[in-house]
Symmetry: D2
Subunit: 290 residues, 4 copies
């Protein structure tokens, strides 16, 4: 509305109880903010009733201090309900590292959407275990780090990757067809902050060569799945999935081409929702307020 | 949660102002209800900022009287904000009349979903200007009224239809490929409560024979549109649309077959959302909290 | 074109060699028929190059005897190429038996489309192990056989089913959510002529309760698969698949409702393609000339 | 099969008569070629019965001279049936010019698919009336011609464009959101060889600002249409269309983002089918053998 207003997002997870929404929205009203968007969901998960909420509110930064709101919210609301919560302010732009290998389609899709302003993030580094994509992404002016796996020393290379991520304060790691299995410690370090794209409709065709598996099984539809990486390969919480139709005329080369399109769009959607703080993780599932 | 709890829905439309959500949710919390689901949307429409909200709340009918809530809500909240609002209680089951002509697919789809419990409504009457479908719907045990147009006296027949609707306290009229243009007075009488299914992706192919128009234009996709009937034919607020792909091999007979499927599912979705009070009408558009 | 013309379909499978199409089409031209539609496909399957063809041709029954064409074709063309082939004439309408259990949606979908003329077949019998759907399908005037499994004697009931199928010269068995596992001998008896609908996107969620499995895995899309029944449950050649999107808001009841729609349409398409002789089975896969 | 074999495509249009398929395939068999793929379609168009065929055949270039096949085919087959026909050989790679304006998504999509080998063509020139995209496409190493419209002299600029197209022997012009209306003489010069992408589901929302029109009408689905450019804006033969769903939450900025994705994929499919000689134009419609 007015140009001087700022926007912030409040994310809440807690056990479901009567009065939560009123307590939260009342707090925000009393603190001179205006809720412009609200999403809420309750679900049963293993005998617990869980509550999830995402609120977007506007405020006048001259009259309202978010720091103080944070302190008051913990004291006056969150502690009563045992809430896990976080406020993201306008300026909290996430830092992304994209890890790629030899195929370019997922990498380029993210970069295009970032350059066009559709993906709102900083991308300080691109990392690849191969050098082949370096020239392709040159025009994006993002440092490209070629970290090859030398003498099969995967651990050593992973250490280099993690060091780079840390030096650049990376919030989100995108595995844009990176093709390397990450160690448990890597995944723990960036838990819930690594998004992988798998080129099948999970849980069908887990593991290597999903398109080959799809051809062998004679399916009429193939898909792609964007999920958070966990220790168990291809088992992490699914953020987004989509499919495309095949016919008997589509050979492996054609399926790969068709698949690229759905991989690109599924990954891009998942990344955008993550960056907009629209994804909640509950055990092995996600709630996506899109 | 507990079996003794009842559920009600609160729908609100008003000009957007700070504090509405807090005011409403606070009121509900103070009145011993628990919000289990909330949807809200704000939009600009012709220089106005409008606010729409749909809340589902639980309450213990032994402790809470909805009548009294209604009175208090008007006094304590709604009047301050100039709200248009309505509370629907569990028992407020809408009464549907289905108007059909000679084709059965939309009629049967609604009846079948109603019998399976998917569509939650009473259907006291089916009306048709032809008798041909009477035997097909016999097993549903719903009175079938054959009201033919005699000597081209359309007005007279429409009067009979309206009389039947009134005698049966009809809330929602479904035009299941009824093929008759309704008079302005009929539409005014049931404003925002007549759902029509048009067999095209509106606004493409307005008017008669949309599939013929689609064939002539050589489109690769055809669709169906469920919308509220207004005085201007095929111009009413759109509730739902969907499409199916064609190829050059699909002739008119095949397109009609394919079209039936999308008509059935689009109409069924629109009817369900209307019955669940998930549709708000804003000028010529709808907001659907699905 | 002229009304006195008849139509027939010629289906061919053989090893791929140069000149097949010319040999076949030349034969048909010399025998005074006119090809109105042709589909052909070649594929590699386990080191063999296989050829599949489906031709629709018109002929004047006063001038051309299909019996004689059949004899000549075997001698002059088919034997040279080692073809498996079949000619279906206009009057070769297939006989269908529908096997159902307690849920009605797949059964009714097939019956509706049959009554409207969209499914071109005879349906002399409906068989169910429960009596609950009998009244629902009464208006279709098809004998409903209630064959319950008594004292857990599954084999005995299956014998009764097979006897009924044989007495009625059944060509195609549709398992419209029949929920019973068929014995190997049943499947062998009707090999490639039993179509099952599985309510998941196979090979994901094989076996019982696929929607429960889908909820547990947190997928964002569910599907349905129509396939030929084989001895290995849910492993037979897939004819058609399709999917629908879920959100976190869709609980089990809602997923079942959404799933019904995709099951109905996937099964109907598979049945229609089978009846139109458009499906070729190659090992565990299908070629569908749709 | 063998590595020494070449492949060619034969495209035929003529009035439908008995024996065409046999005549053509027999000719090809006698001339030592092997048909590996065949598509055929017959349709009624304004009292004429038209026949369309696309054949892919293999031959040994050491034994078969395509030049001679061409001469014989005209004499022995084509002239009898009054065929319009063309043979495309392996080496007949089409030359594309892409015309863009300020938005990059359609341009980049084509270039990226071209670089990955998915689009098989030469792209000797990119032309734009603005210079803004020059740096973005630098890495593709294709000459970028900035031809601005100076002093509103559209004709002069168009002359420059046409001169460039002619100097580069361009076969196909892609209007990748070029935003300029072409003159009749331009369109005549490249008749049936100019593909435009319109960001709506034609014939809905013809003309300027289709997304604005879509918002005003409150549609639940928007689309994109790739069509051959004709003198009548947005009226040319449609090659491909697709759609995406909207909700009331999607504002103009979001619709533009969603729309880009469907524009990109619809345009890419249309271009690929054109380049593979899979599109036949019949009056205002297309037959696409995909």
């Amino acid at each position: 509305m007015s140009r001087q207003l700022s926007t912030a997002k409040l994310l809440i997870t807690c056990q479901d109880k009567p009065g939560i929404i009123a307590a939260v929205t009342n707090f925000l009203a009393l603190n001179k903010t205006n809720i412009v968007h609200a999403d809420q969901h309750s679900m049963q998960e293993e005998n617990e009733s869980l509550f999830f909420m995402r609120l977007v509110f506007e405020y006048d930064p001259k009259k309202v201090a978010v720091d103080q709101i944070q302190q008051s919210f913990e004291k006056e609301v969150a502690s009563d309900y045992g809430m896990q919560w976080h406020i993201f302010e306008d300026g909290d732009v996430k830092k992304i590292a994209i890890l790629a290998s030899k195929t370019d389609h997922c990498l380029l899709e993210i970069l295009w959407r970032w350059r066009s302003g559709e993906i709102n993030a900083d991308i300080p580094i691109i990392i690849s275990n191969h050098s082949s994509l370096e020239s392709e992404v040159k025009s994006f002016n993002i440092p490209f780090h070629h970290l090859p796996i030398v003498n099969n020393q995967k651990e050593k290379q992973e250490e280099q990757v993690i060091a780079l991520l840390k030096n650049n304060d990376i919030d989100l790691v995108i595995l844009a067809r990176y093709m390397q299995i990450l160690s448990k410690s890597f995944i723990d370090e960036y838990q819930n902050n690594i998004i992988n794209i798998h080129h099948s409709f999970l849980p069908a065709f887990v593991g290597a060569d999903p398109y080959g598996q799809a051809i062998d099984r004679g399916v009429k539809v193939v898909g792609a799945t964007a999920h958070y990486a966990t220790e168990n390969l291809d088992q992490g919480p699914i953020i987004e999935q989509d499919v495309i139709r095949l016919t008997h005329r589509d050979d492996r080369r054609k399926i790969i081409e068709l698949g690229k399109e759905v991989e690109r769009s599924v990954l891009a959607r998942a990344v955008k929702w993550h960056l907009e703080d629209k994804v909640f993780i509950v055990g092995n599932k996600t709630i996506v307020f899109n």
